[in-house]
Assembly symmetry: C2
Homo-oligomer: 217 residues x 2
């Protein structure tokens, strides 16, 4: 199976048994997550900004507008770190020290390239939309030339990436297992609530199935 080659920078040093460099695993985590956190440096200060994203093969597209501070400084070739985290559960151990969380995360290092061509911008916008609500793109009014000009998109190649995963019950110190303390996992998931239609909806429209039956993961 295809794997990312760990580099000095993506090799997981802390708890290396949680590391995973398998390309399919990385893709699956990226595809389930709805937002990413983009890290970049300006004047020696790190910034971390949440933003929407989408994956097209081995390219990650991110909304450049969220990183306007970065784009103001340099439109191309700026080092970024894109991190995606899915929180799967709270891990309650018998000791305070061994409390943990179950999660799946991906860290991508790379240089962000500003997408300039109209064609690639449309592809990126399609990717964003389909990433969040699969099926939506075909239904919506497509971007105009003016909107494409106002859209900032960054592309980052999926080359230097690693995943980190924790699953399963708490791991306590051997002597603590005898303590009369409840221990286990409280799983967490993100679920949709009742749809709230736009008050300005002018037609008698029901939400499409990709909304009313929305599910993730």
């Amino acid at each position: 199976m295809s794997e990312f080659t760990p580099t000095d920078r993506t090799q997981v040093h802390r708890l290396p048994k949680r590391a995973n460099y398998d390309r399919e695993t990385v893709h699956r985590i990226l595809d389930e997550a709805m937002i990413c956190h983009v890290g970049f440096v300006a004047d020696g200060q790190p910034y971390v900004i949440p933003t929407g994203f989408g994956r097209a093969g081995d390219t990650l597209y991110i909304h450049g507008s969220a990183a306007s501070r970065m784009l103001g400084a340099a439109a191309e070739g700026i080092p970024v770190c894109i991190t995606v985290t899915l929180l799967d559960g709270l891990v309650l151990a018998r000791s305070a020290f061994h409390h943990s969380m179950n999660y799946r995360s991906v860290v991508i290092l790379g240089k962000a390239r500003s997408v300039e061509s109209e064609k690639e911008k449309i592809e990126a916008l399609r990717t964003f939309t389909e990433h969040i609500v699969p099926g939506r793109w075909d239904d919506v009014r497509k971007p105009t030339v003016q909107e494409l000009k106002a859209t900032w998109v960054l592309a980052v190649p999926l080359e230097e990436a690693s995943a980190k995963i924790r699953t399963g019950p708490p791991i306590d110190d051997e002597e603590d297992y005898a303590l009369p303390i409840w221990a286990g996992v409280l799983p967490l998931k993100t679920v949709p609530g009742a749809t709230a239609k736009d008050p300005r909806l002018t037609h008698q429209l029901e939400p499409p199935a990709y909304v009313s039956k929305y599910r993730r993961g």
Copy 2:
């Protein structure tokens, strides 16, 4: 009401009407979130790492172990950016361009200080535990001196912070409201699933109420 003073670095430039510098708003977002994303710089490369955290008044404590790469480089006074994001809903507009998300996020800039004193480390661990599962600390086996030595905690003062919030329906271009396209918001929330007790639980224990009735936000 108490407000953070926006600096050149925390002033929200992109969509400033979403900005909020109110201290209570910032605290509420921090207290509801379960993880934060910590950004730091090493060798000119930004890194963004998800980790647990907790707030004690105007101090944010984060698990230093997650940032071992940073601690390896410099134990104290390193610039960080801590970002917390709550995703509240998917905003489906009539045009692809105006698709958005409802969210509440906080960005904190500051210098991370390594917590050295045993007393403050215990306080930080209590804060982590109570932040994630309020009520848990009193029930668990407390940290030993050995565990405290193995615990890396960073403290960041809540001084330079801003929140950004989007709520409500999509905002479409005026002429698009007539289009026969469903539009609205699909709210999202994080909910607990059925508790999974540790297979090695040695006593006939039911999960405590702070687990079985767990809710967030």
